[in-house]
């Protein structure tokens, strides 16, 4: 028989404090029953002698120091998981919100997970074709990778994420073993609806599991939302051998929720008021992507974050970039030029790309081609700033070609329709076609044999 406690010492923000409590475990779940009959969930976040601090997920509105009874469950937050979760929608603590039944499952899984042992990991090597040229050619997504999208408010990151989900072709994945896990933290209702509609239109809704914590939902649940999503992903990938694509958005709202909780607890703040453990905390989310030596499935993670003030050095994108294996950066400038997807290729990067492309996987010229495009496009930026000073007409002939290359690259290679699905070969050939605006002598990143073989016979002019 579990004890129920009837008297609270303190109610403060999302926290309640109780004293004279014994045998309570750190991080265990708490049920708070109010006199209205409503039951809220909470979690033990600090134990000090016989005093316990509990964070209430649904918020403390309506709780008084005398109207609630508190029961400690003795268990951490766990999710019952089975294949039944496919096609379902849950809230940030894994309760169904689609009006349907509870998930029946033999086993429950701790949402915090445990770190994957580095020796048990399988190094990701197979690329995922997204059908988007800029990504496939220049920052190839690899199965088992974590590759975030760094965006800004009002930029088309949601469209891009949907296009990736719709078009992603994972080698070895088919309708039976492919799943999408979608986690929304602090996202507006219409954004969430956009995702649902798009998944439905693409006919993948049966393979999607959603964990939604919308902008007006309690922020305390926001912290467990990505953890629920990744626990579900781990189950599907490692127990059911599925290839799972996880999209979580928006990591900025998540981090802000973490900051809010941290300040309520009175912790010492670090950069921009975020808690000192932001890096460790984010890593326990991002590092759950990957593949295991002993399992067929994979977790590929695409977190989306909106950079406050478009500042890539802000702590959230900065710390994210240090944990994830690269980043896809979207640019407001390209977005305003009407280029979709507005991918800013120069700061974008896929760290795992080098081992997942080339002769064995895509084509032998892939790496050289992408290096050359990066290098030439970065030269375009120099030429553009020179042109701003002396005017385009006074540029040398080669420099004029660079400007032309830059324009063609942005308008034909980066830009594509939101339903346009280019194959890897089409993308690479297009890259060569545009590169051929530049004479061979400017292409110094490509080995002579490759250049000979792939440089188009007819130069584009």
């Amino acid at each position: 028989m579990k004890k129920e406690y009837l008297k609270l010492d303190k109610v403060e923000g999302p926290l309640i404090v109780l004293s004279n409590i014994e045998g309570v475990a750190y991080d265990e779940m708490v049920h708070i029953k109010m006199d209205t009959g409503e039951v809220r969930k909470g979690k033990v976040i600090k134990i000090e002698g016989k005093t316990v601090v509990v964070q209430v997920f649904e918020g403390t509105a309506g709780i008084s120091t005398a109207n609630a009874s508190v029961k400690f469950t003795g268990e951490p937050l766990q999710l019952p998981l089975s294949k039944e979760i496919l096609g379902r929608t849950f809230n940030g603590i894994g309760e169904p919100v689609d009006g349907s039944f509870q998930v029946s499952a033999k086993e429950k899984y701790n949402v915090n997970g445990r770190p994957i042992n580095p020796v048990a990991r399988r190094y990701p090597r197979n690329f995922i074709q997204t059908g988007i040229s800029a990504i496939d050619c220049l920052m190839t997504l690899i199965r088992g990778q974590k590759l975030p999208i760094f965006s800004g408010n009002g930029i088309s990151h949601n469209e891009l994420a949907v296009q990736i989900v719709k078009q992603a072709k994972i080698k070895g994945a088919h309708a039976d073993n492919f799943a999408v896990v979608f986690g929304a933290m602090g996202v507006r209702h219409d954004d969430a609806a956009y995702f649902t509609r798009s998944f439905e239109a693409a006919g993948v809704l049966d393979h999607v599991v959603m964990y939604l914590n919308l902008a007006d939902d309690p922020i305390t649940e926001r912290i467990s939302t990505p953890r629920c999503a990744l626990t579900a992903a781990e189950y599907l990938a490692f127990k059911e051998n599925m290839h799972v694509l996880v999209v979580i958005t928006d990591m900025t709202s998540y981090s802000e929720a973490l900051r809010e909780m941290s300040s309520t607890r009175g912790e010492v703040p670090s950069r921009k008021g975020y808690p000192g453990y932001l890096y460790s905390d984010l890593s326990t989310i991002y590092e759950r992507a990957g593949m295991l030596e002993g399992a067929e499935g994979s977790i590929t993670l695409i977190p989306i974050l909106t950079m406050p003030n478009d500042d890539i050095t802000h702590p959230i994108p900065d710390l994210t970039g240090f944990i994830t294996e690269g980043q896809i950066v979207l640019s407001r400038e390209l977005n305003q030029k009407g280029i979709y997807p507005p991918i800013d290729v120069l700061p974008s990067l896929s760290r795992l790309m080098k081992d997942g492309i080339g002769e064995e996987y895509t084509r032998e010229d892939h790496l050289a081609l992408s290096n050359q495009i990066f290098s030439s496009y970065s030269k375009v930026q120099d030429v553009r700033s020179l042109a701003q000073i002396i005017g385009e007409d006074d540029l040398g002939d080669i420099d004029k070609l660079y400007l032309k290359f830059g324009r063609a690259f942005e308008e034909e290679f980066v830009a594509q329709g939101s339903n346009e699905n280019r194959t890897m070969v089409e993308t690479l050939d297009l890259g060569w076609k545009i590169l051929s605006i530049l004479p061979k002598s400017e292409l110094d990143r490509i080995e002579p044999e490759i250049l000979e073989k792939y440089y188009p016979k007819e130069r584009r002019c």
Partner: protein
Amino acid sequence: MSNDGKVELINGPVVKGSGMAKFKVNEMVTVGERQLIGEVVSLDGDIATIQVYEETEGLKAGEQITSTGAPLSLSLGPGMLSNMFDGIQRPLKKIQSLSKDFIPEGIGLLSIDEEKEWEVKITVHEGDRLEAGAFYAEIQETQSILHKLMVPPNLSGKVVNLKKDGKYKINDWIVQIEDKTGKVHNLTLVQKWPVRRPRPIYKRIPIYKPLVTGQRVIDSFFPIAKGGTVGLPGGFGTGKTVTQHQLAKWSDADIIVYIGCGERGNEMTNVLEEFPALIDPRTQRPLMERTILIANTSNMPVAAREASIYTGITMAEYFRDMGYDVAIMADSTSRWAEALREISGRLEEMPAEEGYPAYLPSRLAQFYERAGCVETLAGDEASITIIGAVSPAGGDFSEPVTENTKRFVSAFLALDKKLAYARHYPSINYLTSYSGYVTLLADWYSEHVAPDMLELRSKMVRLLQEEERLNEIVQLVGEDVLPNDQVLVLEIARTIKKGFLQQNALHKDDTYVSLEKQYKMLHVINDLYENALKCVKIGIPLSIIRKEQVFEDVVKMKYDIPNDHIERLDALRQRITEVYDGLREKYQ
């Protein structure tokens, strides 16, 4: 009375216990029913504050805290090479065999394999007098590394008993010595050493030889010394990890200790996959045989991340004491500093700059000062080189970790975002980086490479600086207004960057380049410059000079001339002279 404490407060990895007046600071303890491993960090009356190296989820107030009687220590002995450990020396493969794919808490203190039998050759005789640090036996641990067993630093005495050569496990005694007081000590294959205390040496000796890395921008421009300290800062995406991997692969150290401190799991998996397949150019054996990996990835407990740096350096010191040159790569020290900050915050200490604790500079200094070129207790010359990656927040080098690291390292290899965006790798900035070892190593370079090596280097550095200055003018008015000799400087600087400084880690020849080849390549570029300059001086237009095929050949020599045919560089020099002599004749 019981020596156990009781858990009073739990706040993430920080736990406070009561009834612990008899515990010592830095003592290792086990916490709770699941026996989580922790370390006492401070004492206040009978209340001790403990940092716990494992996840504290599920821990309850009132659970027991037990002393182990010793500070956080490593078991130093055979079985470390080719192995991968977490931050407190628990072998990850062993953990995998116990608990499969994920790392649980409460698996206890594991260390190097206690069951494995090693072929031991005893090198002392009865009656020998052994001082601290003296060798008493040898084990061929891997084909490339001979593991020498040493008398622990705090012990000396006369051999009174010994076993025959043969197979032993690490805890078997093989030699017994009697100390001054007549007490007999068993010497086994293993010794314990607390991680936070530097192992003693006989004395430090001056630095004089380089750590040859096969990376041109380092060896020729910003050399690293054996026994030196290097800071390697760079924002994300600038290629820190690739650079660290290149150094771990190709440095001419005897032993490499690679610490993945708070970094990505997949990177460590990559090392595990890649290194066994790579062959050491000097010993022709797999590189893994000389490598120790420590992996405390970002999502593993933060307190163990703090300890991982000390674990790595202590292992390095142990091998140094055998007379080896050890290089240690810490990727990244910023994550370690952040672990300090995180724990300091939980301890509610007063924060200093950017939330880091005020003792950050002294901790960094203590770490880097464990590097050095030394004479060991056994009288051998040996060294530890520390190469610490720094991940400055927002790529801003004025943040506390980068700033303080700069104070304690002698070489500073700044990775540059702009170069990385242009895929100029390694993206070591050739203008803001520096190496304080150039003068210390001058004699070595002139004796082992060539007397004019450093002269050539200075000339190239000057050309690059000149280019930077000229570029400012070009940015304002365009290249056309510059006189031809200055445009030539721009062209040559480009050649240095593309043909020499950029190095392709994925290319079979370019990934490692011998000092001799580097020297010859510098000469080729120098010849190109001097010959072209002569042509410019008699009024030949630069466009004509630039058109010659040799100009392109120089840029591509790193790919076209394989490492086993470096004599072709001499032929290239010859051709440069011929081509431009011919050009001049035609014009005169």
